[in-house]
Chain length 462, copies 4
């Protein structure tokens, strides 16, 4: 037999349903075999005492993206994907973000060029539709979906991004006609705007009022409405970043009634609460993201929703802004909550936080970690070669030291934002070695991949 290119020897391999001791053999860019006593190979990595899992798939990230308010995210594709690798993630899906008046095809080309130049791992694009004109929907969307960009993102809130119910139906119908998926940011726009304006008028401008403005009721309302629209059209949908128990309950109820709905949450809703927004000084600005973090009881509800399969994935919603006047504190050292760009860096911390809670703290086990971090996002978004350790799949693999304790801290690991809202937490379990399509891209704490070495992933519609 011809030797394998690489064998990861002696680790504990985890799939979405099982855990077992096995070697993983790689030939070229793909996994060739999973077995005991495999060999020989030209190179071996000793994984004794280590956990071997699919590299993470982060299906909700904002990279090198201009917000509707005209602020650029802190990260480039290079810095963002390097952060991802350090956190055990080997695929990202970010947004080709149309703004009003833009050609969607042009937008995709532009983002693809940026990513092609910078990304160190494989990546795909969601089409963010801020202006679904008849031409965009009738001409560009079909072409782009056929070309492999099979997921459409819509916003129900944010000026200049949000779509009203008619436009949402237009997008849902276009998705149905073309075999695409539609993901939505579900918060009630009017409620938030009304409340934010009242709060500011009353002088209640500290970061903590961001959570009051994005009142919890705005989420289940919008989820319920979006699912109603999707069911009318008969279109499958994904609810982004569920943050409340009530939101998760709406998803559960709709699924129970047969609605074709999936949903994600994010580490910030599993590990932070609204109290974090009330940190002294302007520290709370680090925790301004939308929807905002909620209560401990919501965290429990979201874990249960994951366990029950009501939610399928945990993504980062990475949307970094530096904690200075170019980002979180722009224009002012003391901005009102409405001026603070909404978002947090999360690519590097998503998986360590999840591994610690799910595996090390034994809330669940390795299969759940694999499912929520890699195999389910790969399945849902059509990344058919990712997220699984089995013959024929891309050799995107992360080898974790399940005993290593790390205290999260601000620093360049988080990308150009340079801080983490999870600073101070100690997690057990850390990715030691990471492979992308068979190449070792993280080793000894160093990202060894070259900018631009990642590939754009095209997906099949339908």
């Amino acid at each position: 037999m011809k030797p394998y290119d690489l064998i990861i020897r002696g680790g504990t391999v985890a799939t979405a349903s099982q855990t077992f001791k096995a070697d993983v053999a790689i030939r070229g860019e793909a996994i060739a075999a999973v077995g005991r006593g495999l060999g020989p190979a030209r190179r071996e990595i000793d994984a004794t005492g280590r956990v071997v899992v699919p590299g993470g798939v982060d299906s909700h990230t904002h990279i090198e993206q201009l917000t509707a308010a005209g602020i650029m995210n802190a990260d480039s594709f290079e810095t963002a994907t390097r952060a991802a690798v350090q956190g055990g993630t080997t695929s990202v899906i970010s947004f080709a973000a149309q703004h009003v008046g833009m050609s969607l095809a042009k937008v995709v080309d532009d983002y693809a060029a940026l990513a092609g130049r910078g990304a160190v791992i494989d990546h795909a694009f969601h089409l963010l539709l801020a202006d679904p004109t008849p031409d965009v929907l009738a001409r560009e969307v079909p072409q782009l979906v056929r070309a492999g960009h099979t997921s459409l993102k819509v916003f129900m809130t944010y000026d200049r991004l949000r779509l009203d119910d008619e436009k949402l139906l237009d997008v849902l119908q276009a998705a149905k006609d073309n075999g695409a998926l539609v993901m939505a940011h579900c918060e009630n726009h009017g409620m938030i705007r009304w409340m934010a304006d009242r709060l500011v008028a009353q002088g209640q401008t500290a970061p903590k009022f961001h959570a009051a403005a994005h009142m919890r009721a705005s989420e289940p309302e919008a989820i319920n409405r979006f699912i109603t629209l999707a069911r009318h059209v008969g279109q499958k949908v994904m609810i982004f970043h569920v943050s409340t128990a009530e939101g998760a309950a709406i998803v559960r109820q709709a699924r129970g009634e047969g609605a074709d709905v999936e949903a994600e949450t994010c580490p910030q809703y599993l590990f932070l609460t609204g109290k974090d927004l009330d940190r002294p000084g302007n520290e709370g600005a680090r925790y301004v993201f939308s929807p905002p973090p909620r209560e401990r009881s919501d965290q429990e509800a979201l874990w249960r929703a994951l366990a029950l399969g009501d939610l399928q994935t945990v993504s980062s919603d990475h949307a970094p802004f530096a904690f200075d006047q170019t980002g979180k504190l722009r224009n002012s050292l003391n901005p009102t909550f409405k001026q603070i760009p909404s978002g947090l860096p999360g690519l590097a911390t998503r998986l360590p936080l999840l591994f610690d809670a799910v595996v090390s703290k034994k809330r669940f086990g390795l299969p759940e970690f694999v499912r929520w971090s890699a195999s389910e996002p790969a399945r849902i978004y059509g990344l058919t070669t990712k997220g699984v350790i089995a013959p024929g799949y891309d050799a995107d693999i992360a080898i974790w030291d399940p005993k290593r304790r790390v205290t999260l801290a601000d620093g360049p690991i988080h990308g150009l934002a340079g801080y983490t809202p999870f600073a101070g937490r100690t997690v057990t379990g850390w990715p030691e070695t990471v492979l992308s399509r068979g190449r070792v891209i993280l080793e000894g704490g160093e990202v060894t991949a070259q900018a631009g070495s990642g590939q754009m992933l095209l997906r099949k519609a339908g």
Copy 2:
């Protein structure tokens, strides 16, 4: 003892909770006593074998009102209130309907003038807010509510009438600040518009497509959203014309959670179905009203919701248009469903239909008839002297012949529209004699009241 002015002798008196044999004695405009062997009186009406109930309160009627599309309702206050009297109704609440740009106070004055000239029975006004500007909400609404117009109507659909969620919150907050009630027409605007446009584009223009355009899912969505908004503000609300089982279920669930919500339905949702829209030729146009009639299973669900107290009242939503080119068939003998003015005449038929189903067919009994037709609308809208047969209340009384069988037919009894969508049905039970504030206003089939003899009813806020 001084003789009473009038005694209704020997009938079966019904209240919202009981039925008993008694005489009803009237002095001046009010009921003086309910008892056995009362007397003497200057006049007596023999009510042997008759049922004596409070005159109906129809809390949802459109009279002499210009639609947003610029079409005038068929009826004047005189013709509408004469129709009401013939159907056993002695109070109506119609709309002081603001259109965009109008002063609300001026609107009230104008409608009050029209009603003052024409109405033969007592009447009140809901303030219909199509343009709740800061000035309207901060200056006019407080004045008008204090002046006795304590109920605000909002639309969630119809171009030029509908309010978005922010405006709805503005109105709800103004209502809360001033102690008013808010009623809403709850249908999802975007869904209806999107669907109507698609149907028309596909050439599906017959009246029956009106029901497809107003798909049932648009109702529970909007009810859920409106209740969410109201709960955010902490404001009591009334859901108008619930038509679907799912809509009633949302109301029930919200009430169970402690929400301060009440709701009505109308005879058209209890007695008609979507099939009526598919009558041959353009006959279906008679059944174009919004929301449209649904299924038999919805009828059952609505009866149950009434029985359970989830719904409290049955109003007519009287909105008459002649069945000719001035109304239903305007511009064309064969209009598309979008061109047909939405509405039906209902003042004359509401109570006979309800009496027949609730009392004669023994689905429930007289107390439920009284409750849903008179005492509950009087309570909810603050008509504190109406809807009850007890000492001190206005002597607004209808004496029904419970055995009289009438086959409903088109004709002037229905007001200027001159037809009824219930034509052909035979009901048992008919109002024989009607009193308004002690005056006999219907006798021997003739309305004897003078135009303008009705009074405007002012209500107390809070």
Copy 3:
């Protein structure tokens, strides 16, 4: 006109749906008229500043009854009904309590004789079926129901009283065949016995463990099961003494699905909690009744269930035992919770507690007080001449001083038990004068009615 026998002049009269100022005129045993300026009369009672309501109907009381454990209730019919009168109640329904092996007809005769000798107010009997043999069901129940005893009580717990599911179905079927109502004490017998035995085995014998033994989950389970059985047969049922939020939720859900179910709660579940069982020494024994009192959140849930119409009545479940070795402390000054007879005196306090909370503290209003205390129990159990102030109804009337403040205390007012678990509470509102069929039976704090002057009330089946 012939003078009335009595006029209650100038009070505020309340019905189940309204409140108004009126005189109430009585002729013989019945109400003759309700009106303004009525008269003349041979006697007048000045009710200025007073509230005039129907005398209370207490539909769930144990009087002069032997428990299955062989202990006699503290009260005789005379003492119990005197307590009732002092609390504003003018009708009671107690139990003709069969024990295993007894003839039901004989049981009724015996209780009727006791009541005939002692009762100072009108009274009816529920048939308590502890031994529904084929003969009892096929022969005695039809005769007794036809004779006017139209309500059957079953127990799902208590040794020697409880019926298994088959027997429950037998009784439900017999009720259906004969047009009777079935009421049930719903707690899961096995759960309670299992838990009680474990607690005692562990030495956990203090009164507070009574609540642990009657764990809250035992109630919704049994309610759900009983309703399932009743729906199988198609029989209307009444759930006695709902104590938990979950129990009320089961009732609400079943009603929403169309089940023919009504339900009551009692003051002990609205005003006491499980903490009362943990009072020092053996004081907790005063609070041993079944089901036990629960949490404050249950109280809120029960009030809401009353408001929503899920529960219809508030009865006392009067079951008095003296607080000495003949009753609560029998056999021992320090009994285990299993030995303490379960029950509390409640006839005198039911209405003052309810009036205070519902009316004086403005949680609801007078119509709700009348509904839950008098008119609804009268309607549900077929006491067609009781519970209403309207012409033709029995002149059973209580005149309350709505301003009088009374601090509840132990004493003979509570009957022979001589104590009240509500001691120490101050209530506002107290019954000043009480009439039974036109006779004044409470005046100046004195019960003036003679033992045996009450009448047995027979009811109509179907």
Copy 4:
């Protein structure tokens, strides 16, 4: 490298989460590797165009078991396990069935001896507790659970088998104390007995009345009760053979509330309906099993519950009786439904029916087939080496021809009962070759394994 013992070459391998092309290499009794181009091996099986799945795990079967009514099942361990193999199943769990008065340890020994002599595949035992005396629970259960019999079965119906609620709590508590699982047959005993007696008394004795006797409401009632008991103790439970939409809804609701509940259904509830019981003559007797088959809408609800993860497994509930006077028609050629032994042969047909519906008819896909038929039952019951194709797991493998069409028919394949209630159905997909711990035991349609070659599987508690 040492050659493998066997390679299954070129098939489509399915796990509980993925499907991929790979060879499966076996060394000794276990799977050694899964990969592309594996080799060499001493023997190869060409699986081109075939599907390679874990051998089925049938976790609910009655083998060589005496019913409480004293009738012996048709099959021996040899005939039953041969039927299993022909249907692609490689592990069975049957019952060590205690009857009243028996020692449980003795029962296990006896069944183990029977299975040891006859079984051709690996097998485990559920302990069926018909008489959970203090001694059984305190002494035998701990020993037996520690010895590897970690699952306890209880019945809520059937005379001589059923446990009342107290006994159920005893068993649940013993399971909790010893780290065992409890499975339950949930039907309300009293309802069934009451109804069956009435039906027979009315002469309604045909097989179809079996379904009327086991009315659908008896299932959700019992499931709800059993879950209530389990939650009280804090014990994990498995609901056997859910047959109704309402039953599945109770499971879903309890899981949503956090209850530790899993559940199964069986092919008879997915593919048959109550109409099958009404076949002419005594043919309906073939369909007498409990719970009975229900409606098509229940089938849909059960498929959805599987899809949603509310149900986790599909077992056969194999309980065969010959269709003659030794079995279904015992005592009579025309027995009443109460005399017909309840049960059906299902070991051979479970997986072909499931494969056809789930895979061939594309209702779901191969991962769902694997999950419900093998990996989930293995996980739930602690068969840690079964149900998975991955290195280290037992080489229990079934190779299916996904194109083969077979029309099910009566015959010896179904074991000694010799018939199948699914006769006449054509399925696509059939197991061609089956391996048990590396041995080929089915080949060319012939079962090649020796009686007694199966091993007893012991499991770990906790």
